[in-house]
């Protein structure tokens, strides 16, 4: 197994799927000549050509709309939205068209569509470019929402997404591209809609995903030094949400902290907490805690921004509170 970056893992998945299936193509802003804003599609334009690596105008609704149209007509588009903040300009097409069409037309229309996008804060990009609105998209039945936290999962989930016949929003994290990890070579598939235990433990369960997995693993290492054994469940997919490993872990530890980068109100943590109470109330030994972003638009100033985003000590503090 090679130890590669998240960027390389995603790039590898795209490349291999495009080599495998001529109906897979990429479209989006700066995906071609530029090589991708985050350099994920560097070299693709020269290799696959302009018909399969399509640079688009800055027209998010038209990008997603055209991707939907081409998917129902038999192609397998991977449409890129430069950041998830721009997905709001295509919101109607994502939630009103992509998420509805298979159901509303009684299965006649099939949408093998992947929307790749990038979320998360921490890069001083200001309030409009730093959001983690994952929960909004996870709200809609008909759409699948995937957000990997490791390079291996990024590769395996993206390949699964491209082969899936459902519309999938694939959310990458802007500060994870340089993160390295062991990634299986060749055809490596991670099924969509399956949570997994990323670190086994017995004292407390952390439920998290994407960038917050990295922070939770660091927090767990720190806590281990104090003899606290943390189990970490990585959701990986937000819809369909696989609560199996979460409930199983909670029944063992009886304590949980949910860590997400987005805002706490109406967030992923709210959903996970509700489900634990609904499905495993008899196992609760302490009130479940949520770690999430402060309820502010993210400020530009580095210190202020870092104050708003969850960090390792926030997670350690929450874990100690539930013990």
């Amino acid at each position: 197994m090679a130890r590669i970056t998240m960027r390389e893992a995603i790039s590898q998945a795209l490349w291999e799927e495009m080599e495998r299936d001529p109906n897979v193509f990429i479209m989006g802003e700066e995906v071609g000549v530029w090589g991708g804003t985050y350099a994920v599609t560097k070299g693709f334009y020269d290799h696959f050509g302009p018909d399969r690596v399509k640079d688009t105008p800055i027209s998010e609704a038209a990008i997603i709309g055209a991707a939907i149209g081409s998917s129902i007509a038999g192609l397998r588009p991977v449409a890129e939205l430069m950041t998830i903040n721009f997905a709001f300009s295509a919101m109607d097409h994502i939630v009103n068209e992509a998420a509805k069409m298979h159901y509303m037309f009684n299965g006649q229309m099939v949408l093998p569509l992947v929307i790749r996008t990038v979320g998360g804060g921490g890069r001083q990009l200001g309030a409009t470019h730093s959001q983690t609105p994952d929960a909004i998209f996870a709200h809609f039945p008909g759409l699948k929402v995937v957000a990997p936290g490791t390079p291996a999962d990024a590769k395996g989930l993206l390949k699964a997404a491209i082969r899936s016949n459902d519309p999938i929003l694939f959310i990458e994290h802007s500060t994870l591209y340089q993160t390295r990890g062991e990634v299986p070579e060749g055809d490596y598939i991670v099924p969509i809609g399956k949570s997994t235990v990323q670190r086994p433990g017995k004292d407390v369960t952390i439920v998290t995903y994407s960038k917050m997995l990295e922070l939770s693993l660091k927090a767990a290492d720190e806590l281990a030094k104090e003899g606290i054994d943390v189990e970490i469940v990585d959701l990986r997919s937000l819809r369909p949400l696989d609560m199996g490993p979460v409930i199983e872990s909670f029944k063992k530890t009886n304590r949980a902290v949910i860590v997400e980068e987005g805002w706490k109100s109406f967030g992923i943590g709210s959903e996970i907490m509700s489900r634990i109470y609904e499905e495993a109330f008899d196992y609760v030994d302490a009130p479940i805690k949520r770690v999430a972003q402060k309820e502010v638009p993210l400020p530009y100033n580095h210190t202020l921004e870092q104050m708003a985003i969850p960090n390792v000590s926030d997670i350690i503090k929450a874990v100690k509170e539930v013990l």
Partner: protein, 319 residues
């Protein structure tokens, strides 16, 4: 065109008219829920337009879609069954009036968010371009849709990518109750296509033959890979925007003036005057149309409701 084909177009217009008159009754009886947008007055637009397509051409439209669906080959039975929310409807009762579709007929819906299907049309056309298939995508929308951002993004992208789309604006002069003059910076809609360097035309939508002629010419160009084109079709809806429209925004005298130009009457007079057929033959066609609609109403009313198991079906392909 052969005589049979001329008669067929007359027949289709009469079916659409009768089907919608019956739909209005069924709505008033409470058998159709939600919204019901009637196409009455605009029949020559889709009948003329769709008559010029080849089977490989894709069609996509907005929510005033009963007529287009019929012209694309969906039976009155399945259309009315969908309006009644029945299992035998085009979308198994899950779509309703605004979401008719049959992809086996290359008819891609029936889309209810104003303008949102225009970007989808680019995608349909892109698939044909990608696979090097000589086909056009016919995308129909109202004048109201030309004021939303999707319209402009979609027209621009289609031109930049040289996509085989025929953009068809059905200009019926009102977006709901707001007239073009009150909503659009230009009242001649085709001027908007000029801004995207797109070849365009305008035609009287009450004249089926005129619509058919220009659509045929434009579709040939579009299919041949010359890029998107834009057709404005001037028309008028004789009924309200949807059922229960108080129509405060227009005078009845205006409606009556347009009704004198009934597209079915114009076509009928053309057929007789050019000696293609006779009044008697047309009367036979009208009776056959009436019969199809009557049978369709009976079929729809007697069809079963979708089963409870349908509620959770087709949320995803891979359940």
């Amino acid at each position: 065109m052969e005589k049979e084909a001329y008669l067929r177009l007359f027949y289709e217009m009469v079916v659409i008219r009768r089907m919608e008159e019956r739909a209005a009754e069924l709505y008033q009886q409470g058998k159709i829920g939600g919204f019901l947008h009637l196409y009455i007055g605009q029949e020559a637009v889709s009948t003329g337009l769709i008559s010029a397509r080849i089977p490989a051409d894709r069609v996509i439209t907005a929510y005033r879609d009963h007529g287009v669906a019929y012209n694309c080959g969906i039976s009155a039975k399945r259309i009315l069954a969908e309006l009644l929310g029945k299992a035998t409807g085009t979308s198994g009762g899950k779509g309703g009036s605004m979401h008719l579709a049959d992809v086996t007929k290359n008819y891609w819906g029936g889309h209810a968010i104003v303008g949102a299907h225009l970007p989808l049309a680019n995608g349909l056309a892109l698939a044909d371009q990608y696979k090097k298939q000589a086909a056009a995508t016919i995308c129909m929308f109202g004048d109201g849709a030309t004021n939303i951002g999707y319209f402009h993004e979609a027209l621009n992208m289609s031109k930049v990518w040289n996509l085989p789309v025929l953009w068809v604006c059905e200009n019926n002069r009102y977006g709901m109750g707001t007239s073009i003059e009150r909503a659009s910076a230009v009242s001649e809609i085709r001027q908007k296509a000029e801004g995207y360097g797109m070849t365009n035309g305008c035609v009287d939508g009450m004249d089926l033959m005129a619509v058919r002629e220009i659509a045929d010419a434009m579709l040939k160009e579009v299919r041949s890979g010359k890029g998107p084109m834009f057709l404005e079709i001037e028309t008028y809806r004789f009924r309200g925007h949807s059922m229960g429209d108080p129509e405060k925004y227009r005078k009845q005298s205006e409606v009556h003036k347009w009704q004198e130009n009934d597209p079915i009457g114009i076509y009928e007079r053309f057929l007789v005057a050019s000696k293609i057929t006779t009044d008697d033959e047309l009367e036979v066609q009208a009776q056959l149309a009436e019969k199809e609609v009557q049978e369709a109403v009976e079929f729809a009313e007697s069809s079963p409701e979708p089963g409870a198991e349908e509620l959770f079906r087709h949320i995803y392909v891979e359940d």
